[in-house]
Symmetry: C2
Subunit: 167 residues, 2 copies
DNA sequence: TTAAATTTTCAATATTTATTGAAAGTTTAT
DNA sequence: ATAAACTTTCAATAAATATTGAAAATTTAA
């Protein structure tokens, strides 16, 4: 298989995976491109490789910076900014987990806490509702601590040992 | 807080979470509605509660059935079909993990395997590419076995014990 | 059978989300 | 200061996705 074909296949596939991780397609593609690139790339190079507009490139680069999964690089003597990806997949996964926890889990935990306070009118509906909310809350809290553990796994001897089982 | 308000808040919030799990909004809302409902509901009741069309209801119910997170219920003497949700959150999470593994992880593993076969022309690009692909492959495989372990966790003494730590 | 009840399909339409590109803004070298 | 290099913004537009609803298909009771 030729390099250029392999590269575009990988960018495509990583784009799809990233999409299902909550990034958008172009964000994920830019990330993939920076992943496989030996050198940091400028916005122009990214636009060129992925055939996207300047505005699109700019917005998605910014989003990736916000997610902390790519970094801004300054080359001395050069005016342009360059970007490189976080290439350590575990750091990457941790970073994504952190963002998603903030964006997804925190809101549902808040809602579950709110709706727990539903007034018990003695009806079967209310009874069932309370039961389900309690179950969901337990689940969300467990997910939250699992995620938290994962995010902090690097620092934990126990978990980093467990993780090694999966080599 | 009133029951009807709590219910619609929960459906809304669960809809958002489900969306980020790879379901679509209405799918997730139907699931939420069936979660909190004490009795199985018919398509008409779902249409009515969520204010969606028959076609929409039908399609999303079918999708939920495909994901195996709601069940078809027949009431003797009734012509209509009823639906109820899987209410055990761990079964639910496992089912979702299973689907996503199939839909997301399997394709990227396939691509990574393919692009590994890129021909080494000795250039720096190719060298870096091969390195990154190897790293990604290792990561994807580990994720795969983690997921697999999670999916099968119920049967495993070791993991069900570990899980209990998160109560 | 027939026909009423129910479910499914799908072309048309509406809604949401992503993308463009040119203008405005910012930074830096001289 | 000026202007070139570069980045950001955002209204307009395009593309993707979701939704409707009426017609077709299917199921069931009598």
């Amino acid at each position: 298989m030729k390099y250029t074909e392999a590269k575009s296949d990988l960018i495509q596939a990583w784009g799809n995976l990233g999409y299902s991780w909550g990034l958008n397609k172009v964000m994920a593609q830019i990330h993939a491109l920076l992943m496989v690139s030996a050198k940091p790339l400028s916005a122009d190079e990214i636009m060129d490789e992925l055939k996207i507009s300047r505005g699109n490139a700019n917005m998605n680069i910014r989003a990736l910076l916000e997610w902390n999964i790519i970094y801004r690089i300054s080359v001395p003597g050069e005016r342009k900014e360059y970007f490189k990806a976080e290439k350590d997949t575990w750091v990457l996964a941790r970073q994504v987990a952190k963002e998603r926890r903030k964006r997804e889990l925190e809101p549902i935990l808040k809602t579950l806490k709110n709706v727990s306070a539903v007034e018990n009118d003695g009806s079967e509906e209310t009874k069932e509702f309370k039961k389900v909310v309690k179950e969901l809350k337990g689940f969300a809290e467990k997910s939250d601590s699992l995620l938290d553990t994962f995010i902090k796994a690097e620092e934990s001897w126990f978990w980093s040992t467990i993780m090694k089982v999966f080599k």
